[in-house]
């Protein structure tokens, strides 16, 4: 096959629609990528980027719309078709088999054979040869389970190249990488481009978009809303397209949040004096591999204060919260509320001591999806709604009615199962339980409190967090949304590789500064 002329279209997706039940993941999304360019597909979480790329990779069939690759209509193709046509997808969650070697993973599905047997020596040699060609050097005989995240990603890229990929799609490739690894990836991607390949990266990090890409497509709420040339645009314009309204990146107004959130903390002096905030000292949490997930962290959250934790996901934020909540074993250190030692207390004892927790994953942790709204509203408080072991159904129903009213949970039916609620209303159930009238708490852990919920619910939850802070609660907030951290917090900590690299007053923090700390480009003195 003769190489297509530079500048012709490698990928053309037109009016793609894809729904899952009542969720419309893609709505008339269109995308054009020319041969030999690095294209960035950007958008917020849930904007439909991954769905669009799964359509491209043959993992999903669109409900409507057309997909052309190298000029021919391939709508509705399957994964093997896509691979055969040279489209390779590197998924965000690696598609590697941990118990197999690098070489075995590389050749899986198109194994080189000799007399019916796998030519393993050739597979290992292929890993070496490809590695030398692209700079992705890795030993083919190593077990994937023993690789670091960055190495595993290299294997993923090698896999697609081994299959002759000319169009390489990477889903959030930098989310799991350290800054030097990001730089290495950039070199590799340019190398692929220079060898006649086409690269599409999905990301929501604007600095990488600017540094890496030549053209950009922006998605918002399932639609493609802008198509830009990197050279002709700036982060502010991209961000504006992403969130759909004017934003000024360098200031705190970037947030979607309402005016109320900008008022300074009306700290209740009495509450602060009581000293019953969250205390964490020298906390260490061991990881599954040798590294520490949480590496010797010390901080306090005072009553009437929100401490926000910013950071690239996977830098120990989840582990920190789980350790404080009693859901993950602590290697050493101290966790307490005021002077009360909770380091080895059970989740229930922590709750009784005044700890509330909005977990990051409501569908796995925060809710029993097949339980009714009422039963979910008492989760963790079930002992307070039972007499001699029997549940007090009437009291539960009454309490549920109150909370549903107070938190505007829809539909207002306490017997409906949590599964049938929208994401925003599911989250309201969690918030109602953890922050509602039935709860006597002094410390709140709020982990990704507005992830995947609609704008109305976001504002509602934000105002609740502010109100709780103003009534003297100590709140530890973790969010992947930098603007959320910036606009809600009194102080901001940046977490990178299990450590707090900096803690500063929110007033002094800007997105740029935090971004430098987050990526490890800057280290506090």
């Amino acid at each position: 096959m003769t190489p297509p002329p530079i500048g012709s279209l490698a990928v053309r997706m037109h009016d793609i629609c894809k729904s899952f039940g009542h969720i419309r993941a893609n709505r008339n999304a269109s995308l054009q990528v020319a041969h030999g360019e690095i294209h960035a597909l950007v958008g917020e979480n849930g904007a439909g980027k991954s769905t669009l790329m799964r359509v491209l990779g043959g993992l999903l069939t669109p409900d409507s719309g057309t997909l052309e690759v190298n000029g021919s209509d391939v709508t509705g193709w399957t994964t093997p078709d896509a691979i055969a046509a040279g489209v390779g997808v590197v998924h965000q969650h690696f598609m590697l088999v941990p118990t197999l070697t690098v070489a075995e993973n590389l050749v899986l599905g198109m194994e080189p054979t000799k007399a019916g047997q796998i030519d393993y020596a050739r597979a290992v040699a292929d890993v070496k040869r490809l590695g030398e060609e692209t700079g992705l050097v890795i030993d083919g005989t190593r077990l994937v389970a023993d690789l670091s995240v960055g190495e595993a990603q290299r294997v993923e890229i090698l896999k697609t190249l081994y299959r002759g990929a000319k169009i390489l799609v990477l889903d959030e490739p930098t989310a799991v990488l350290s800054p030097p690894e990001v730089k290495g990836l950039a070199l590799v991607l340019r190398g692929v481009r220079d060898n006649g390949g086409t690269v599409i990266i999905i990301t929501h990090r604007l600095d990488e978009v600017m540094a890496l890409s030549e053209t950009i497509t922006v998605m918002r709420a399932g639609e493609t809303v802008a198509s830009l040339r990197t050279a002709d645009t700036n982060p502010s314009e991209i961000a504006q397209a992403m969130v759909g309204r004017h934003v000024r990146l360098t200031t705190r107004e970037f947030a979607i949040v309402t005016e109320t959130t900008l008022t300074p903390s009306r700290v209740n002096k009495a509450a602060r004096a009581s000293g019953s905030g969250l205390v964490v000292r020298n906390l260490i949490v061991a990881g599954s591999r040798k590294a520490r997930e949480v590496d010797d962290i010390t901080f306090t959250v005072r009553p009437g204060e929100i401490l926000g934790i910013a950071g690239v996901e996977g830098n120990g934020q989840s582990e920190l919260i789980e350790a404080i909540a009693g859901l993950r074993a602590v290697s050493s250190g101290f966790v307490g509320i005021g002077d009360t030692d909770l380091t080895s207390a059970s989740p229930r004892d922590r709750a009784d001591a005044g700890l509330s927790h909005i977990p990051e994953d409501r569908q796995r942790r925060g809710l029993v999806m097949d339980y009714s709204v009422a039963d979910n509203l008492i989760l963790g408080m079930q002992h307070r709604f039972s007499h001699r072991g029997s549940l007090d159904r009437a009291a539960i129903a009454e309490y549920a009615r109150q909370q549903i009213r107070a938190f505007d949970i829809r539909p207002p039916n306490f017997a409906a199962s949590a599964r049938t609620l929208s994401g925003g209303n599911q989250q309201k159930v969690v918030v109602a339980r953890e922050m509602g009238g039935g709860r006597d708490y002094s410390v709140l852990l709020a982990s990704q409190p507005t992830r995947g919920v609609d704008v109305g619910a976001i504002e509602f939850i934000h105002s609740r967090l502010i109100a709780a802070r103003d009534s003297g609660k100590a709140i530890l907030l973790v969010s992947a949304e930098l603007n959320e951290v910036l606009s809600l917090s009194d102080r901001v900590a940046v977490m990178c590789r299990g450590r707090f690299v900096v803690v500063m007053p929110a007033a002094d923090a800007t997105e740029d500064v935090l971004g430098e700390y987050m990526t490890g480009a800057r280290v506090a003195a």
Binding site: L60, T79, M110, R348, H357, R365, M369, D370, G380, Q382
Partner: protein, 372 residues
Amino acid sequence: MTAEQREKIEEALFPPVVAILIAFVVGDILMLSFNQSPFVVWRLLLEGTWGNAYGFGQVLYKATTLSFTGMAVAFAYRAGLFNIGGEGQLAAGGLAAALVGFALPIGFPAVLAILLGCLCAAAAGGIVGAVPGYLRVRFGAHEVITTIMLNFVVLALLNWFIATKLRVPETLHTPEIHAGAISRLSALLPAFHGSAANLSVIVVIVTAVAMWYYMFRTRGGYELRAVGLQPDAAEYGGISVSRVLFSAMTVSGVIAGLGGINFVLGYKYYYEDGFAGGTGFLGIAVALVGRNNPFGILIAALFFATLSQGGLAVNAFVPKQMVDVLQGVVIIAIAASVPEVRRILLGARRRPVVSAAWDSAPVATTPPEAPV
């Protein structure tokens, strides 16, 4: 009735109905292969079970043990555990009941003796159930395998005990009990004369009510079901997952062990090696058809008992082994249709819970040719 309630009912009822229809067709084929009219044989099967007091008594008797083992499976299943050890637990319970009845003096107050027998049967089953519970909680050893393996171990142990320690010579059963016999239904209703049905049927109904109340009306049941549905959420909700798993497995064994009284105290008045005879395994089918609901299980147990007794009733025309085939068919058909029905109902209304992309990935496609 809300759409959600209707859907739940549909989800519960479709699979058994489909399975019974399939079993019906398979049964027809088997009957025809024996040159018998399916119509005649099915009628005979019903007449021999529900058509006369003796047959119905036998159905009740068989359904009693099946209900116990079915509820045992369901109790564990609600906590997310698979107890396949019903066979060993049932046998252990039976032996314990027999030993108590044998150890007590003749003339010991009947009610007390029965109570003691029940307690010991339950305790023995509980101990056998607790072992895999402990292994699961302490070592993470999967209970499916450990319960299967323990069945063989327990049955071998009981066999050894009977063969070497306590038996009527030339048999494989213990001497008769001195106290603790549960009266036959025929003592109250003479029409049941000759059938093995006994008042254990009351114990099973009480157990079902108690299990239902515990599951759906108590804090313990709330916590147990939460662990079964979403252990991560349960842990988050301050529930000790290990403790729930261990106690659920133990109670599951208790229920299965209690089932031993039906044969030992209610029918034969001695323990006989091998009396469980697959009832423990069949409990899995009963729980499956009864959708893990105690009252559903009572109905499902009646169904399987009817099949089993019905097989004897038609044996002159079609070998009773037909029933073994039908049992297998019913279980496979239900197991296969449960996820299918759920998928159809879910797909019709909402987004799948699991990753949508993976769920609809075109996996049944041909792999590319290997490079030469």
